[in-house]
Amino acid sequence: MPRITVTVDGVGYEEEVEPRLLLVHLLRDTLGKTGTPIGCDTTNCGACTVLMDGKSVKSCSVLAVQADGSEITTVEGLSANGVWHPMQRAFHEEHALQCGFCTPGMIIAAIDLVRTDPDPDDATIREGLEGNLCRCTGYCNIVRAVRRGAQEMGVNTP
């Protein structure tokens, strides 16, 4: 079996994996990073979104072997020393989550969105999150949270 090295949320791992193993299952089942869930089988829902070398990917559609040598950030790696990432804080403040199942992927996708557009307007946010389905919130509070998170990221990060 191929041997890969991968950094997840700042921790280096060396694993033997079957070539067919999906990245999302490597994260969840092998590494115990269960914060990233699975919502579909056709790459539509985006619940499994993680950052791979800084860019958002749907981890259900990446093979673990393709992640060899890369740096992965999941929602579990966003807060440091107990301080929430501005986007996490904004989701809480704006009530942008209910069941919480889309939330990890949504927060990661939002962070990637802000990377490409630091000050997105509502339409940009809605378009930018089109790859992430939510069944609970009707999106309105998510849009508000992302706008707020973006503003706070702009202020708080270099």
Partner: protein, 790 residues
């Protein structure tokens, strides 16, 4: 955090968020146990076929496979069939025939999920295809193949006939009515599609004989009782743990074959067995919603006074009647279809039939078929307005029940608790700028603007909080709910409830109820739910019943604790209990407010060395079971504005105004979030969602590639308003609300689209109003979208 926490009701940020935003929730697939195996289900490719043989030898020989379970294995254990929530039976694993595409045929247990899926490919099933029933309208035809030949003497596909209301009176009104309008309409088969699918992790401990099942169930206690009845295990040796649930929406009420298979898999292998379904399996085999073919008629005077409504429904229930509803109501609460209007009489007849489709019916925030009822009456009102040439808002305003008519007994026997409908509709119209919208529409029509504008209304009355145990039970289990409150020596509290959040924020709002009643901070109250070993019995969360039933239980149990605290305080303060008065958080002596004891001081004394009054055992806790005297009847006025491109049929929802009245709002922030989510459901159902079938019974909406859910792009920024008309019989005046928006909004969207299409003379078109269906309607070429027949 900058915001302060309210002592009781009010906007309070959620306690649940801290774990969810950091990926530290615990959903069922996150649970891993030592030695855990994985299960996978082989499903039928046919809608209707006889099973001639099942060969599992190659699958069993695959390294890593621990067991292959078939219908035959289960038959040996008496578990091949299980009871449904409608007192029918459902095949766990098929033995004789398969009856819908995607039905469960065999179950593989293996070392990991990949091997389990590999093994499915190695199972050989020999099928003899049979003709199938896909169009419910043909199900009762003489020549229709009999789906349920497993039922003794069953010679047709008929399930039940049910009626409500006064037939004779209704017919008499219709005979002499000035205006009569009839309209066929289909509420198509859709699916709740929670983002987390269903699954279970079963762990049978052979040494203790105890079975533990982790499962995202909305009704953990009911599951425990049913497992005991089905599997013959004693109920105290079954523990159901419903962990964090990634949305339920009614899709996680019943027991699915996969759960039983995981349990049998664990018993057979002696190891924990986890089964998680894929999205396609979820859409194909778990509880669908709706599928009501309705013919509605409305009788009125020439000036628009509605007198009577009658309706005939053909209900497609799929191959097994698994519909979840109180026993006495096979069509749920459909008979609230007279809606929000002062109507003299009404009558409905519902016929349920079997078809070669998955079971279900009641799901997706329907409040037991009220989605269908509200859609029917709100479409009929618009059809009547169309025929009379009247403004639909004016027609509604003319017929709405007035505030002084409550409590109001409806023509089919419901007793609406409270309402002030005209005020609520007026507020929605004011928020929308209704007259200006109509003026804009008239101007655009006069100018020959290609892009069509439509304005749609829906005024709904819900009936939630099932329910009085005298009338309502599920499989004999009365629909009352328990609550237990324990106050620790330092004044911190634990509330244990039988309802089961799937995102509705119960851990926050139920703490707010206790906080309000006990005068402590909600941060000092932990809410425990979902573990049948820890929580009192009750029927769970669906039908928006948590606030009406469990919320009432939480208030009542806290009042019991407060009464106990009063006795302790009287001993502490050396005064008679009657000399004490309650101010939030404290009992004090009447006329001497300085002389008193806080609930925290009383809690310590209850566990301490104070000599307690006669009959007080010590500690500070209480239990209660709340049997509601009636349902609660929230209501709302919704207005939707759409733009329609007649050349492409594309519908854009420009605005959506929703005014909801659910009585007292425990946490307005959470109520608003519930409404937002339900409004998105309404747009999804009205414009894109459909589970269609071809004539062979192939499911054409069995993945997110075809079963479309609204994204952030299709949803507008919702505009919400509120009025507050408390429920007079509820301890804190609160009504349920979670399903209101899903119930009320589809009709507003459809009414808006048809309002836009009015210049084409189109009175009705069925959901979903996808671009192709709208375009076809404009061309005068409507289709049966549910059957994919063009």
């Amino acid at each position: 955090m900058t915001t302060s926490t309210p002592m009781g009701f009010g906007r309070m940020h959620r306690k649940e968020d801290a774990r969810f935003i950091r990926g530290r929730g615990q959903y069922v697939d996150d649970v891993q146990l030592p030695g855990m195996l994985h299960g996978a289900i082989l499903r039928s490719p046919h809608a209707h076929a006889r099973i001639l043989s099942v060969d599992t030898s190659a699958a069993e020989a695959l390294p890593g496979v621990k067991a292959v379970i078939t219908g035959e294995t289960l038959a040996g254990l008496g578990l091949a069939w299980m009871p449904t929530l409608s007192k029918d039976v459902q095949a766990v694993l098929a033995t004789d025939k398969v009856r819908f595409q995607g039905q469960e045929v065999a179950f593989v247990v293996a070392e990991d999920r990949y091997i389990a899926r590999d093994a499915l490919e190695l199972i050989e099933v020999d099928y003899e295809p049979l003709p199938s029933v896909i169009d419910a309208r043909t199900a009762l035809a003489e020549a229709a193949p009999v789906i349920r030949d497993d039922l003794d003497g069953k010679k047709d596909n008929h399930i039940f006939d049910w009626e409500a209301g006064d037939r004779a009176h209704t017919e008499a009104i219709f005979e002499r009515a000035e205006v009569r309008v009839s309209q066929d309409m289909l509420y198509p088969r859709v699916h709740p599609a929670p983002l987390e699918t269903c699954g279970a992790l079963a762990d049978f401990d052979k040494v203790t004989g105890k079975l533990t099942v982790w499962c995202p169930t909305q009704a953990p206690h009911a599951h425990r009782t049913l497992y005991a009845m089905v599997a013959g295990l004693p109920e105290h040796k079954i523990r159901v743990i419903s962990p964090d649930i990634g949305g339920g929406f009614g899709g996680k009420v019943g027991i699915y074959p996969g759960y039983v298979c995981a349990i049998v898999g664990s018993i057979v292998t002696g190891k924990p067995v986890k089964w998680m379904e894929d999205r396609s399996e979820n859409l194909m085999s778990t509880a669908f919603a709706r599928d009501y073919h309705m013919t509605g008629e409305i009788a009125a005077t020439q000036d628009g006074r509605v007198q009577a409504i009658r309706v005939k429904v053909l209900a497609d229930h799929g191959a097994f009647n698994g519909t979840a509803q109180p026993t006495k109501f096979p069509a749920g609460f459909f008979h609230v279809f007279s809606g929000s209007y002062d109507i003299e009489t009404a009558h409905c007849e519902v016929t349920g039939v079997y078809s070669n489709k998955a079971p279900g019916g009641v799901a997706y925030a329907c409040s037991f078929r009220i989605t269908e009822a509200v859609y029917l009456v709100e479409r009929l009102m618009d059809v009547l307005a169309y025929e009379l040439g009247m403004d639909p808002a004016e027609l509604r305003m003319k017929n709405l029940l007035r505030a002084d008519q409550f409590p109001y007994t409806s023509p089919t026997g419901w007793e609406y608790d409270s309402g002030d409908y005209p005020r609520t509709l007026a507020l929605a119209m004011e928020m929308a700028g209704y007259d200006k919208l109509r003026a804009e529409q008239a101007e655009r029509r006069a100018n020959g603007d290609r892009r069509l504008m439509g304005i749609g209304l829906s005024f709904f009355t819900e009936a939630v909080g099932a329910g009085p145990r005298k009338h309502m039970d599920i499989l004999g289990l009365g629909m009352a709910d328990g609550a237990e409150l324990r106050v620790h020596p330092t004044g911190k509290a634990v509330l244990r409830v039988s309802c089961q959040s799937q995102g509705q924020g119960h851990e926050t709002t139920f703490a707010q109820i206790v906080a309000e009643e006990l005068g402590i901070s909600p941060d000092d109250v932990d809410v425990v739910h979902g573990d049948t070993d820890q929580t009192p019995f009750g029927l769970g969360t669906y039908g928006s019943r948590s606030t009406p039933v469990s919320g009432a239980a939480a208030a009542m149990v806290t009042r019991k604790v407060r009464d106990r605290a009063k006795l302790v305080a009287s001993a502490m303060l050396e005064v008679a209990p009657d000399d004490l008065e309650w101010t939030k958080g404290r009992w004090s002596v009447k006329g001497d407010p300085k002389h008193g004891a806080t609930i925290q001081e009383i809690a310590l004394a209850s566990h301490g060395a104070v000599e307690l009054p006669e009959g007080v055992e010590g500690h500070l806790d209480a239990t209660c079971v709340y049997n509601p005297p009636n349902l609660t009847y929230p209501f709302g006025a919704y207005i939707c504005v759409v733009d329609v491109d007649p050349d492409t049929g594309q519908v854009d929802v420009r605005r959506f105004i929703a005014v909801d009245d659910c009585g007292v709002r425990i946490n307005p922030m959470i109520v608003e979030g519930q409404i937002h989510g339900g409004l998105a459901d309404g747009i999804g159902m009205a414009l894109m969602q459909l589970m269609a079938f071809d004539e062979d019974g192939n499911h054409l909406g069995a993945s997110f590639m075809d079963y479309l859910l609204p994204t952030a792009v299709e949803c507008p920024s919702w505009e919400l308003g509120e009025t507050v008309t408390p429920s007079p019989h509820h301890p804190i005046g609160a009504k349920g609300v979670g399903e209101s928006a899903t119930v009320g909004s589809p009709a507003a969207v459809v009414n808006a689209v048809l309002d836009a299409l009015k210049p084409y003379g189109i009175r009705h078109a069925d959901m979903p109003l996808t671009p192709s269906n709208v375009w076809r309607a404009i061309q005068g070429r409507p289709i049966r979208t549910d059957l994919a027949i063009t």
